[in-house]
């Protein structure tokens, strides 16, 4: 360590190698990934997000939704994501191909949202999501600032929330989702990883399970 320049070069190389290995390594493996073309359907998956939903992801990101919600389903047998109805298969890199800024998240203080738009038995309706965002719940903050409190001029807006009780607006006024609320809800309703890619099928676990049962018998 007596040689100053050599020390600095050593430091630099250590970091360069780690960065190349981890970041460039992953990039080399996944950077050229293409959508999967299903010949039966004649469509490529995943689909690009539509304009409104793509803008909604920006709202999701700037509100920091990822601080409580993940968007990554773990494989069957690892955790309990399937038991919670968050998705039947694990998320794979291809699912995020067209997302400008994937929101994987690191906390599940709220539920995983990977497949919110495809929840069984019924995905939440547009209206339910608006109400939820406006009123909140005991476990979720209300984001009233995404909505506009407007006077009713002529007809009531078709988007106006049907509210009752304490959250209802004063008479002659209506609560209408603002642009950010509309894009966010479009995005949330669009969250769904529908297609089963070759790499996302949880084969090994399925094969193992019956083998064990047979052995027991």
């Amino acid at each position: 360590m007596k040689n100053g320049p050599l020390f600095l070069v050593g430091l630099f190389l250590s970091v360069l190698i780690a960065w190349s290995g981890i970041v460039l390594g992953s990039h080399a493996q996944l950077g050229r990934q293409t959508p999967f073309f299903d010949e039966g359907d004649g469509v490529a998956y995943p689909a690009r997000q539509m304009g409104l939903a793509a803008r909604g992801q920006l709202v999701y990101a700037d509100l920091g939704c990822a601080s409580c919600h993940t968007q990554q389903v773990r494989r069957p047998g690892f955790g309990n994501d399937q038991g919670r109805g968050w998705g039947e298969r694990q998320s794979v890199a291809r699912d995020y191909l067209f997302q400008t800024r994937p929101q994987l998240g690191a906390s599940r203080f709220g539920p995983d949202l990977t497949n919110l738009g495809g929840r069984k038995p019924q995905p939440p309706t547009e209206e339910a999501l608006y109400r939820f965002l406006y009123e909140g719940s005991p476990t979720h903050p209300p984001y009233a600032f995404l909505f506009e409190n407007l006077p009713i001029a002529g007809e009531v807006s078709s988007l106006a929330l049907k509210l009752s009780g304490t959250s209802a607006p004063a008479s002659g006024r209506q609560i209408v989702p603002g642009e950010r609320a509309r894009t966010l809800v479009a995005y949330l309703r669009n969250l769904n990883t529908v297609y089963d890619y070759p790499e996302s099928r949880p084969l090994p676990v399925e094969q193992k399970a019956p083998a064990k049962e047979e052995a027991k018998k």
């Binding site: 981890i22 992953s26 950077g31 800024r101």
Partner: protein, 476 residues
């Protein structure tokens, strides 16, 4: 409790210290103000965890943004300022000459803090990048690199122009942190912000950066302080010091290969989490050597040593727990719960911050040339801060453990989970109050000490002025 370690005899304060006094004190002061800002934001975020409606009507204080601001103020505000001051001071002292390039240091320090302040406002307004640990908006990122590089020049010059042929562990760690951060920050900005890589590779790069911030930047700065102060205070050489280079290089070489531990079971290549386990396990060697080196830290008394002891212990625990948590079987439980948050707090607050506190209690009297203005507050700071921190960590760990278990049961609804964890989360809020109170004690103590030093400096400057004018008078 004696406070020998925090007292500085006049003989111990050298020209190297007085020369760089005000630039270094400026950075420390700025860091402490950010620490309080971060504390208040932590408190808001903590309250929101058990009372979600708190401040929810205001877009600037949605939980996600508060969380991002808290983290940013802590890492880029408090830890960066304090760490830069500590690292530069050590390199100056051990280099043997007064620091050069201090004008760069001051200019860099001013712009760094402006960048952080502007960045926090940007996050509040919704401009965050949404990458954990790198939330500062795109617009201030270039300024971050430039101002850091300017600030780090003094330290690196002190290293390359040092008086002695031999070097010390403190110097390696400090110079590594000063030198490496601009590089890996730039590399990360390129792949995340300027020419973003596709899809989940972004998550991989962000995880790598997060590991870098700890292992290549803040932990080295904290360890530099410990390697310097512990032998000084205890008056003994470190045992097994000959193994210290191996510990250093293990941290630098392996430290960021652990990135995959954030992505266990995630939609990333499977070798990444495996590499995470390998990396954290190899790093255990680094922690083992440190444990041998710092055996002697167990006995000496004094506020500085109390903080250093706490910090070193937390650092070792962090090493052990991250290794355990990186294994898949454990991650299936602990991942995505408050256990992860507790672990991160153990590293950034328990280890890095507490080591910084310890070093500052030793360093500030040597910069000001006088004792801490209110020595009583120093011991009170340690008691309050350590109580608050232990309480916060235990509360988070309990909440996380409960949460992890309930998430594995399909029947437990989110409302039930919320109810079960709300008591530990309220305790966590109380702990945040304690931490703010504790750090206010340090801020007040620091401000009084710096003020007293400033008055003395003014008085002596005025004295000089008088004597010179009288000389002029006599000459004419």
């Amino acid at each position: 409790m004696t406070n020998q370690s925090t007292n500085a005899g006049a003989a111990e304060v050298t020209a190297i210290d007085t020369h760089a006094r005000w630039p270094l004190l400026y950075l420390i002061g700025a860091g402490l103000v950010w620490l309080i800002v971060s504390g208040v934001l932590s408190l808001i975020a903590a309250i929101q965890l058990h009372s979600p409606a708190y401040l929810a009507e205001c877009a600037w204080f949605t939980h996600g943004r508060v969380e991002a601001m808290r983290e940013t103020a802590f890492i880029y505000g408090w830890a960066a300022n304090a760490g830069l001051a500590i690292g530069t001071w050590l390199l100056g002292r051990l280099g043997g000459y007064p620091l050069r390039g201090l004008n760069w240091f001051v200019v860099g320090g001013v712009f760094w803090n402006l960048a952080v302040a502007a960045g926090l406002i940007g996050i509040a307004a919704g401009e965050m990048t949404s990458f954990a640990v790198l939330q500062l908006p795109r617009a201030v990122q270039p300024l971050l690199v430039l101002s850091y590089a300017a600030t780090a020049i003094s330290g690196v010059l002190a290293w390359s122009g040092r008086k002695r042929a031999g070097t010390f562990a403190s110097q390696w760690y400090a110079v590594a942190a000063l030198f490496l951060f601009p590089w890996f920050l730039t590399a990360t900005q390129v792949v995340l912000l300027w020419t973003p890589v596709r899809g989940v590779v972004q998550a991989v790069a962000a995880a790598w950066y997060a590991e870098g911030v700890f292992a290549l930047w803040l932990a080295p700065l904290a360890l530099a302080g410990a390697y310097y102060v512990v032998p000084k205070v205890s008056g003994r050489t470190l045992p097994s010091y000959e193994a210290a280079p191996v510990a250093f290089w293990t941290l630098i070489v392996v430290g960021t290969w652990t990135a995959g531990r954030h992505l266990v079971g995630g939609p990333v290549p499977a070798w990444l989490p495996t590499m995470g386990v390998v990396g954290t396990s190899l790093l255990l060697f680094h922690f083992l050597v440190l444990a041998f080196n710092f055996k002697i830290a167990l006995t000496p008394a004094g506020t500085a040593m109390n903080f250093l002891r706490f910090g070193l212990l937390a650092y070792l625990l962090y090493g052990v727990f991250t290794t355990i948590a990186s294994f898949r079987g454990v991650a299936a439980h602990a991942q995505f719960t408050f256990v992860t948050v507790a672990l991160e707090q153990l590293g950034f607050y328990g280890a890095v911050s507490m080591l910084f506190f310890g070093t500052l209690y030793y360093m500030v009297p040597r910069l000001t040339g006088r004792d801490w203005a209110l020595p009583g507050l120093a011991s009170a700071h340690f008691v309050t801060a350590s109580t608050g921190l232990v309480l916060a960590l235990v509360a988070l760990a309990v909440a996380g453990e409960t949460q992890g278990n309930l998430l594995l049961e399909a029947k437990a609804t989110y409302a039930e989970i919320f109810q079960q964890v709300s008591v530990p989360l309220m305790i966590h809020t109380a702990a945040q109050f304690l931490l703010i109170a504790a750090n206010l004690l340090l801020l007040v103590n620091f401000a009084m000490s710096a003020w007293a030093c400033g008055e003395k400096a003014c008085a002596s400057a005025a004295g000089l002025l008088r004597s010179s004018s009288s000389m002029e008078a006599s000459a004419s």
